[in-house]
């Protein structure tokens, strides 16, 4: 069905909302299973199949549907059961072996309270506490994640029933491109990829450049070794990102939009492509959308597993079918980007923020978070913590609350040592630094970084020297080898750390690390090269005792490094 004008769209919205209201009226069986990469890995597809069969055999007439990830990776596979006349109950870790018992309980009209994560209600129900009181959810502010685990990510109707594409319609019919940019500026949303540059200012520079055609690109490459928020976004609510890119195109007055997705994220690619196809089918994408005179076309391009392609100019070369290697700036990409034309590149999460900003206004958005870091932030946390997953918090939440509140603190038998911030581009925080607020600016003075919001907690079994080698080795391996300081400096750093690790440190090795880092920081072309030595410098600053033990005593306190205890001491003159 292709919609031809705004009235037809409004009619479609009314119909979608009516059907959504019917589904959620609470008078029928609805069983939803979260299907995303992390739940598939734990057998959610099998759970879905078994449920379908078991419900049929039990004679329960239920609508069995897939939804996206809800952020609680540790609770996968999860199943939401809406029974007639009862609030929806969410069950966790429903592997296929638990399906018969669950269906039996459903048939009896019972609730399996011991398997439940929570109930979608304000009051406890049959011994199941409200979902929103769960410590994982109580501290969250879900704006971007509002519909994760609620809508079917492969259904444009679900998205529209929940208010989707209202911002797109509002923008193209009721607002000028200048007004759109202005709202984004008022919101002060800063780039979610790590650099934190205000998106509105970038868009404005893109508008000012006098060259055509222009391009808008979403960076969904997500090659960082501890972040999975963008792919979950594309898996759980792809239309939200698509709508954001479309509004970006309108703001730049260009019909050319791209989403560049990391090639490894198969389900994210599949679902985003499907979203694009559905938007074309409905007439929300294409030429002269709903008779507005606005045209918009979105292409999907995929990467090939090179970390460097998350860097703006490298990504653009990759889009053009080249090797992804950054180039000298200026000209900046808003002046010369893809095919030497003005290009606005933002992170997936930044684009996901846009529809909300346009619907509710920039001021609504700016009221969330802190003064300089407005809005909410998706955070992923890994390591030996109780709960692993994706959360959305208002900017400014203390790191301690994040780790020990939402994510439940350490697993039994693990003692907290530190939390690595900023992926492979910054250093860790120690226990006594955890009261720092999580926002763009507060982590930096401590040697940390918000980055793209991926944090890794590590325990006492991790050695700071070994960890530094791991992070530095990552940056060595992923260096695109264009700039000499990065190409030669990173292997040199790895070599020095390696000899410290083996107990063969030479006098002055820590000074040598600093001296070797300087030219990499100062002379690399791209942002990734410039921060390549940061994890090592951060580890040395945060855990000098670990380095001293290796260098002076030939001992690895964590018992990880194969130190050579017989090596001669390094504490000679000159150290």
């Amino acid at each position: 069905m292709k919609l031809t004008d705004r009235a037809a769209f409004e009619q479609y919205v009314a119909e979608a909302q009516r059907r959504w209201a019917e589904r959620t009226a609470g008078d029928r069986w609805v069983v939803s299973v979260g299907i995303s990469e992390c739940s598939i890995a734990k057998g959610a597809r099998q759970t879905l199949d078994h449920l379908r069969l078991a419900l049929e055999q039990a004679g329960i007439q239920a609508e069995v549907r897939q939804v996206g990830c809800a952020g609680w990776c540790w609770a996968e596979p999860y199943v939401e059961v809406q029974a007639p006349g009862a609030p929806p109950v969410i069950y966790q870790k429903i592997t296929t072996d638990k399906v018969p018992e669950l269906v039996d309980a459903m048939k009896r009209g019972d609730v399996k309270a011991d398997w439940a994560l929570g109930v979608r209600a304000d009051q406890p129900f049959e011994g199941v506490p409200p979902l929103n009181e769960h410590p994982f959810l109580a501290g969250q502010r879900r704006v971007l994640m509002a519909d994760w685990g609620i809508i079917d990510p492969e259904s444009i109707e679900d998205y529209i029933a929940r208010g989707g594409y209202q911002a797109w319609i509002k923008a193209i019919f009721d607002m000028t491109p200048e007004e759109v940019v202005n709202e984004v500026k008022i919101s002060n949303v800063r780039g979610r990829g790590g650099a934190g540059f205000p998106a509105g200012i970038k868009w404005e520079s893109g508008r000012r450049t006098q060259a055509w055609p222009k391009y808008v690109i979403a960076n969904s490459h997500e090659g960082e070794p501890n972040v999975f928020k963008d792919r979950r976004m594309l898996e759980s609510n792809p239309h939200l990102v698509l709508e954001g890119i479309m509004i970006g195109c309108y703001a730049l007055e260009t019909p050319h939009g791209y989403n560049y997705v990391g090639g490894e994220h198969k389900l994210a690619i599949e679902r985003f492509r499907k979203a694009v196809d559905q938007a074309y089918e409905l007439g929300l994408l294409g030429d002269n959308v709903l008779g507005s005179g606005v045209s918009c076309h979105i292409r999907v391009r995929t990467g090939g597993g090179a970390y460097i392609c998350g860097e703006g100019s490298a990504l653009m070369y990759s889009v053009m079918g080249q090797r992804g290697q950054p180039r000298t700036k200026p000209p900046r990409s808003v002046e010369e980007g893809v095919w030497k034309r003005p290009t606005v590149l933002n992170n997936t999460e930044t684009f996901a923020n846009i529809p909300g900003i346009i619907r509710n206004g920039g001021a609504w958005y700016a009221a969330m978070g802190t003064e300089k870091s407005t809005g909410t932030k998706l955070i992923t946390m890994q390591g030996p913590v109780q709960r692993i997953g994706v959360v959305e918090i208002e900017m400014g939440m203390p790191m301690r609350e994040l780790i020990f509140g939402l994510f439940g603190g350490m697993r039994e038998g693990h003692v907290f040592k530190g939390v690595q911030t900023g992926g492979v581009s910054a250093g860790p925080l120690r226990e006594e630094q955890l009261d720092v607020p999580v926002d763009f600016d507060s982590l930096t003075p401590l040697g940390g970084m918000l980055g793209s919001g991926g944090f890794v907690v590590f325990d006492q079994s991790v050695c700071a020297v070994d960890f530094a080698r791991y992070l530095q080795e990552f940056n060595r391996y992923e260096s695109c080898a264009k700039c000499v300081p990065c190409r030669l400096g990173n292997p040199a750093l790895v070599e020095i750390i390696e000899r410290i690790r083996l107990g063969h440190a030479r006098p002055g090795d820590l000074t040598l690390i600093e001296e070797t880092s300087r030219p990499i920081i100062d002379l690399s072309l791209c942002g990734l090269g410039q921060v390549a030595p940061m994890p090592t410098l951060g580890m040395i600053r945060a855990f000098p005792e670990d380095f001293a033990a290796h260098i002076d005593e030939h001992r690895c306190p964590a018992g990880v490094c194969p130190v050579d205890a017989a090596a001669p001491a390094a504490t000679a003159a000159g150290d």
Partner: protein
């Protein structure tokens, strides 16, 4: 994953050509260049690696030189220009897996199976690829993905050995994701 080859082991280019004809149409040379990377991925998905005739077919279809295709195949880590072994192991070595012990798995594979990143065991059974990025299933860390679809998580060297031996014996791996 079943890969498209003739029964006598010769490469069948027809499936790739069909995909190229269907999904990789273009109007301008500029559009064609944008499609090279995606076409390489299709070949990789189809054959498990990108054989030279497939690279040539991509080049011919898109009107670029085969050197241009190889420039990408040798730059981007996802592509293989040598045939893989019977089973494909994707070992996640992202930060979350590292702090949970993925280095010990890499050491086990090196010391006991004789393979490091990109290599195939002598018996042709196992290929190892180490992902520097992240498979995004960090709750299962440290984790490997076997034959493109099955995840085996929370591995120790012992459980890795068990898993690989089961794989060699041809046993199903579906139920190996105990997390607690």
């Amino acid at each position: 994953m079943a890969h498209a080859t003739h029964t006598d082991g010769e490469l069948d280019l027809e499936p790739l050509k069909r995909i190229l004809e269907r999904d990789f149409r273009y109007d301008t040379h500029q559009d064609a260049e944008e499609l090279i990377l995606g076409a390489c991925q299709e070949a990789q998905n189809l054959y498990g690696w990108v054989p030279q005739p497939a690279a040539q077919a991509i080049a011919d279809h898109l009107g670029v030189s085969v050197n241009r295709v190889y420039a990408l195949l040798t730059f981007y880590a996802d592509f293989r220009t040598e045939p893989p072994g019977k089973h494909f192991l994707l070992l996640c070595h992202g930060t979350a897996c590292y702090v949970m012990g993925s280095q010990r798995l890499i050491d086990t594979l090196r010391d006991e199976y004789g393979i490091t990143n990109g290599e195939v065991t002598r018996d042709g059974e196992l290929t190892l690829q180490v992902v520097n990025g992240c498979l995004g299933v960090c709750d299962l860390a440290p984790v490997i993905q076997v034959d493109h679809h099955t995840y085996c998580g929370r591995l120790t060297p012992d459980r890795l050995r068990e898993t690989l031996e089961a794989l060699k014996r041809g046993e199903p791996l579906e139920e190996r994701n105990e997390t607690d």
